[in-house]
Symmetry: C2
Subunit: 130 residues, 2 copies
């Protein structure tokens, strides 16, 4: 018998058939907001700078507008920040994700509660005896 | 500007920390119900027989009970069918998945409707001009 607690996992992505905007891009964009730098955000995810650029470019192609402002040069070798539309996309995606997670948790806890699992185990034991 | 229609994709899985019960296992189990055979269900998914066995074994370890009846021998070299508990798990997982998909679609259509996307595009153009 399984003694680990079961849990429910969900993944939400928005796509246009070619590319997907999912948890990875959202995390990268939130990292850019936090560090003010695409390079640092990529490093925090153990992602190469060139890969991070590709992820941003593909995400921008989905939405059809810029997600990043690039500030070239300066004392620290340039910085990046999210555009207002970029921030809005991240916030909306996060809202979508939270609603989906909450619904999945609620439904999972009803459908697969301990009583239901016990009933299935009981059913299984009865069938084994037959 | 992106001319493809955006859509929302979701994935739901149930896990115990070691293994996951997600769309792949559910599809394999539904294939077994359909074909009456693990071998045929695996073939339909271009999955090797040994891989399919591992998938089933891991799924059974999550739930702690048998999902399959194995009927050895016979004219067609044996067959498989789902246990009553196995059928219930597939039905419950499918119910969970449908609720999550419906919620995600509804929320996506509100948060990312054409009007909202137009507003983001407008925002982006205004920021580009500044």
């Amino acid at each position: 018998m399984n003694t680990h607690k079961l849990h429910c996992k969900t993944m939400v992505a928005i796509g246009d058939g070619d590319y997907s905007f999912g948890p990875g891009v959202a995390r990268l964009l939130k990292g850019i907001e936090r560090y003010g730098s695409l390079k640092k955000a990529a490093e925090a995810m153990h992602m190469s700078y060139s890969k991070a650029w590709t992820v941003i470019k593909n995400a921008e192609s989905i939405w059809g507008f810029s997600l990043l402002h690039r500030h070239v040069g300066g004392a620290h070798g340039g910085s990046s920040s999210l555009t207002t539309a970029g921030k809005a996309v991240v916030a909306k995606y996060e809202e979508l994700r939270q609603v989906v997670i909450a619904t999945a948790e609620k439904e999972f806890n009803t459908l697969f509660c301990e009583r239901e699992l016990d009933a299935l185990r009981q059913l299984s034991m009865e069938e084994d005896i037959e």
